[in-house]
Symmetry: C2
Subunit: 343 residues, 2 copies
DNA sequence: AATCAATTTCAAAGCGCTTTGGATGACCGG
DNA sequence: CCGGTCATCCAAAGCGCTTTGAAATTGATT
């Protein structure tokens, strides 16, 4: 069933049918109802490509699948983020499209998106410090929004981000108030902007309390379970092991816990742990009482908010880029406690 | 830059340029080279929608985002599966498109996909026992492939699945050989087909060894860390606790390990654990030695294979549906050991 | 009854591509 | 020099929709 046959069956022109369906005022209520009824009866939907061709809009949002170079790792937040964003997008009639390519080809994908007119806008994930994709997208003229921010990029761009610095600063302060002085940081790759900011927050809290940061207590890499485990094992074997650990992800925190327990220690008593928690649907931080004390911020909600911002941006392309800062809440669970007395 | 201007610039007709670019034989090598060079210079790409409209193909694969009803949970394998599938699809010029809707509306999405001509085919995730989406898609006439299978559906359909029954049977036999008699099963929701099959494998192994299955040792629900934890706590508190546990997911297994260790027991000595491992990129089962003994099968590879099958299916729509069975390997790690002596 | 404005409808152009059904030359043997 | 065959290339139709500009109809006003 297409417009033409539908119009013929109704004895109307394609123009009128199209207008009736798209809510234009120049069609009588009676006709509109008649058309809508017939459309429903035949389960008529305008062909996406024809409509797109005529309107010049794809009604598709593109996203390059974020995979890290080192371990070919797919970001674990991917599913939940998409679930959030997708919900908002579909309300506005947008579909989401994904492309995965070797990292080096990412800019080629954006150029191709643009040349093919395949998408109306893109979402940029996992921004680095001074991420060159931002100037590139601006130059290409492809509307976009960043999930996160990029330190060092001065040109304007839209973003949605968690206040990583503040949340890590507060969390570190919380540990300091509990008496901890040797606080470790198990962070993501510090080429990533978020990791940079979290470290800044951590350092700010230490500085405020006049605690000299110890480079031996600051680790950063891809946030796997194994990374959390191995770094914790190493640090707990030091002469002056940390009494508390800040972690950048729940998955790493699971490894941290494993290392603590395998060392015969108890998390929350011998070693305190605070982790950032993206509130992933498949990795809930405890059902009743949170297992980990955490800086929590739902990445699914971030997806919803970001999608809304991007839709706005598409609709008013000349407005200056709007951004949204999300605050993480500090959730006190059972992984933190007063610093153990020095022996 | 579009076909028309490109053709004008070259002093050729659109026909010739189009043919040159699409590899048709009726254009001289010299012309073809000239055209290709110009296209590269201008970074010309045919407009997706115009091309789709003319060819009648969308070059898009659709997928409804699998979210479970209960916990609004996004399947943790989503990211890795997509990463795998997307790699293959992009080689063939297909994009992947996702739609997320409340579960009840899923069939409406398929009808809409079809009516709008939005996609050439869809991927069906997380099939249930007797999954009614399969007859629906067949009836709608939307090409599809299932990631998994659906017991009770007799009509033909294409699928790619892991041999869940066999892998769980082998793994259970392995535990039995180690002397375990009280073996628990912490399974996914048993409305899911894969969970059904895994249980069948588990039961077959018990039956073979003449061990009566104990309903108190068989648990099934959404596979979260917390579920693994809570069920294990419960079972370890029983009069006759299990000495071994089969788990359906790494994430649940992490909870199982936590419960074992919090109970003051040691995994691999007091309680053995075997889990299914989808080989997720962000949840590697140990870097060097596997932490868990596991039935391993890369879901990313499954995505690649499935994508290839679906492309074949699109290209030869009249051929009978082809399917692929993947075998999981039993990977022996440090979570299993001989059954402890009865005390 | 004539005029005008508002309402309702329509024919046709256009979006950018593919593809059908020729047309144009070049080349060849006779 | 002529008809036939190839190798090249082209004009135009068509994919299914939106939208422009105009026409037909209606109702109100003079």
């Amino acid at each position: 069933m297409n417009l033409k046959t539908l119009a013929e069956e109704l004895g109307l022109s394609q123009t009128t049918v199209s207008r009736a369906l798209n809510g234009y005022p120049e069609v009588s209520e009676a006709t509109r109802r008649r058309v809508e009824e017939a459309a429903r009866r035949h389960n008529y939907r305008p062909n996406s490509r024809a409509k797109g061709l005529a309107t010049g809009r794809a009604m598709v949002i593109g996203q390059v699948i974020p995979t890290s170079v080192q371990h070919e790792m797919v970001n674990p937040i991917f599913g939940d983020f998409v679930a959030g964003a997708s919900l908002t997008f579909s309300r506005f009639g947008y579909d989401m499209m994904f492309t995965r390519v070797p990292d080096a080809d990412e800019s080629a994908v954006y150029r191709e998106y643009r040349a093919r007119g395949a998408v109306d806008a893109v979402i940029l994930q996992g921004p680095l410090v001074e991420d060159q994709r931002i100037p590139l997208l601006n130059q290409i003229g492809l509307p976009f929004i960043v999930h996160g921010r990029s330190t060092g990029i001065t040109e304007p761009y839209a973003w949605v981000d968690v206040n990583n610095k503040r949340s890590f600063q507060h969390a570190t302060e919380f540990l300091i108030h509990l008496g901890h002085r040797r606080i470790a940081l198990i962070n993501g790759l510090e080429t990533m902007d978020f990791a940079q900011r979290r470290r800044a927050g951590y350092l700010a809290a230490l500085a405020e309390a006049a605690i000299a940061p110890d480079p031996a207590l600051m680790r950063s890499d891809e946030m796997t379970e194994h990374f959390g485990y191995s770094q914790t094992r190493q640090m707990l074997a030091m002469d002056q092991p940390p009494t508390a650990i800040m972690a950048s992800s729940m998955i790493a925190a699971l490894g941290i816990r494993r290392a603590i327990e395998e060392s015969g220690l108890t998390m929350g008593r011998d070693v305190s742990v605070i982790t950032h928690d993206d509130d992933l649907s498949y990795l809930k931080n405890g059902q009743d009482v949170p297992i980990f004390t955490a800086t929590r911020s739902s990445v699914r909600k971030a997806g919803e908010v970001l999608a809304q911002c991007l839709v706005d941006r598409i609709n008013t392309p000349d407005a200056p880029p709007q951004s949204r800062m999300l605050e993480a809440e500090l959730l006190v669970g059972r992984s933190t406690g007063p610093a153990p007395q020095r022996t």
